[in-house]
Amino acid sequence: MTLVVEGLSVHYGSIRVLSDISFSLPLGEVLCIIGPNGSGKSTLIKTIAGILEPKDGKLLLEGQNLDSISRNEIAKKIGYVPQDFQFLTSATVLESVILGRRPHVQWSLTDHDLDIVNNAMRMLNIAPMAEKMLTELSGGERQRVFIARAIAQDPDFYLFDEPTSALDIRHQIDVFSMIRAISEKKDKSVLVAVHDLNFAYHYAERVMLIDKGRIVCIGTADDVMTEENIISVYGVPMQFISTDAGRYVIPDWKKADLNRAYADTTELTGDTSGKRSDV
């Protein structure tokens, strides 16, 4: 099974946010979307998740246009874990995870549904906190609950919108390990928008770099995360370091500070004769 995106464009009112996005996502693959703030990562995830309507283009699942499939059937195939959680009502962990079964049940949960919920909670190690209220949990624990809800939904394609943005390094590693486990053990596909370039490099089969609503490059991490691509898109000097554990991308803080100081000076003096040669 493959999810295919063809010529996708999305508008917020009259503003074009995504332009002519095309790619495919086969089963069992982790594809990371990277790009600066406002580049359209979340919009792309939300459009595929059925939250936003595309202006142009097609979303195909097994060759079938998503427009011709019922919302409920799409919900069985595509699961979504949002970026932020504004709506922490007084639900328990168990109630939150059970919500994931909504596309599969009429009114009552069957033993099969409960087994899936159990497995999701066990996989995310949240079974002991089943009766806790969401408001009592830490950010990392809540994140696990919401991932468990997506697993309980049992889709073929998982969409994660910056799942580690509010987490410390340990929980970031936990979440990305889970994402890999979903892909490898369950043979599911994961499309994940991230800010951390190193996580994208080390956890994804392929990486998609987008900027200003367009795909700059898509391919393996080595192909996409080149010095030229990263610096041109992010506008920040980067260092690429190769170690035994792999390749890492880190900002060159010193040069970045110098450039910012230069920009501040030209803003104050109005002198634009010089060039920002570093970037």
């Binding site: 699961g79 979504y80 709506f87 007084s90 639900a91 168990l94 909504r102 009114w107 949960l109 409960l114």
Partner: protein
């Protein structure tokens, strides 16, 4: 000891069993309250006697001609009144419960959103100006004019609130304030109508505003009962979808819910249920808040169980309140709306003093 693998299933299943027990307990309590309500009053009748009269009314109505007074008390007065209290309690409680889920705000109810005031204004309009329409409407549909007018205005108020809720940056407080504002505007409208109308209609409107079961008769029940039951069944069928809204609109959409349609149809149906009853009973506050809040304490947030639980609690509270209202100062009857204000005020004061205010903020 249960294995950790089964903990969640066990929790879910034991929780479900507990919820069914609570709902069954509430049904039994409502049945007992119903028997007491039929029994209580200036004219005392034993339970056996009531059963006999009901049996005769169903099986052999001609026999009731021999006991016209008892027939009037039980069949024409107490049963329709108890049924109207039950259906009104159910309607207001489910409307409150569903509105809270749809707008993700535990403080909304038909009363706080201004629906009660708007529906009362609609009904008052029909009372005052409906006479001009009556010659063109068959007699059996004349009550329908009041209901339709109450519903139309109630629906208008909810549309207004819905539009406010869709505005960027609107908070829970904005919604409540919008409800208060719309309540004031329609209350002013009712005051103008009261000022302009004649004594007979003024009395009718005033009775309404106090809230009571004086409008109870079989004609009212024939209208209210099917509306309440159909609205209940529809909203109960949407319980899963309502649950998903607690996770936010984005997650609900991804879980296959058409959120905009759910909000519009849910508010439409909840408004229909509440305004149809309010047209006969006038303003009855707090049921739409107390039913769901007590329900959440007893049964949790799952709307599959919360909606029936709130409905039963609403019916129970209103039936008991109405029975108290007509017997506490026997033979003088006080408006049940007054009782509801007292109970509602005490209930929310209790919540605040017990530190449970987090549930309503």
């Amino acid at each position: 000891m249960k294995s950790p693998e089964n903990t969640s299933s066990t929790l879910y299943l034991s929780g479900r069993k507990q919820k069914f027990i609570i709902i069954a307990g509430l049904i039994i309590l409502l049945f007992c309250a119903c028997i007491y309500a039929l029994n209580a009053g200036s004219y005392h009748l034993s339970f056996d006697r009531i059963l006999t009269i009901v049996h005769q009314a169903v099986m052999n109505p001609d026999l009731l001609k021999e006991i016209p007074f008892e027939k009037t008390v039980v069949i024409d007065f107490r049963i329709p009144r108890a049924l109207l209290a039950i259906f009104t309690g159910i309607s207001l409680a489910i409307a409150g419960c569903v509105m809270q889920a749809l707008l993700r705000n535990p403080l909304v109810s038909p009363f706080t959103l201004g629906l009660s005031s708007a529906a009362s204004f609609g009904a008052a309009l029909a009372i005052v100006f409906g006479a001009f329409l009556m010659p063109f409407i068959p007699k059996e549909f004349q009550n329908g004019v009041i209901i339709f007018s109450a519903f139309l205005l109630g629906w208008f108020s909810i549309l207004f609130i819905y539009a406010i809720s869709r505005m960027k940056g609107s908070s829970s407080a904005t919604l409540i304030l919008a409800g208060v504002v719309i309540g004031y505007i329609f209350t002013a409208g009712v005051m103008i109508l009261k000022y302009l109308t004649n004594d007979e209609k003024l009395r009718e409107i005033t009775l309404w505003l106090m809230g009571g079961m004086w409008g109870a008769n079989w004609g009212a029940i024939i209208i209210v009962a099917p509306i309440t039951l159909l609205c209940f069944l529809y909203l109960e069928s949407k319980a899963w979808d309502l649950n998903t809204l607690s996770a936010g609109d984005d997650v609900a959409k991804n879980l296959g819910v058409n959120v905009n349609r759910l909000r519009l149809t849910g508010l439409f149906v909840a408004t229909l249920a509440a305004s149809a009853c309010l047209a006969f009973t006038g303003i009855i506050g707090f049921i739409g808040l107390m039913g769901p809040h007590i329900g959440r304490m007893l049964i949790g947030n799952d709307n599959r169980y919360l909606i029936p639980c709130s409905a039963l609690l609403g019916a129970l509270i209103l039936l008991i309140s109405d029975t108290v209202a007509r017997t506490i100062m026997d033979p003088v009857e006080i408006p049940v709306g007054v009782i509801m204000y007292v109970i509602g005020g005490i209930f929310f004061m209790f919540l605040i003093l017990r530190g449970k205010h987090r549930m309503i903020t």
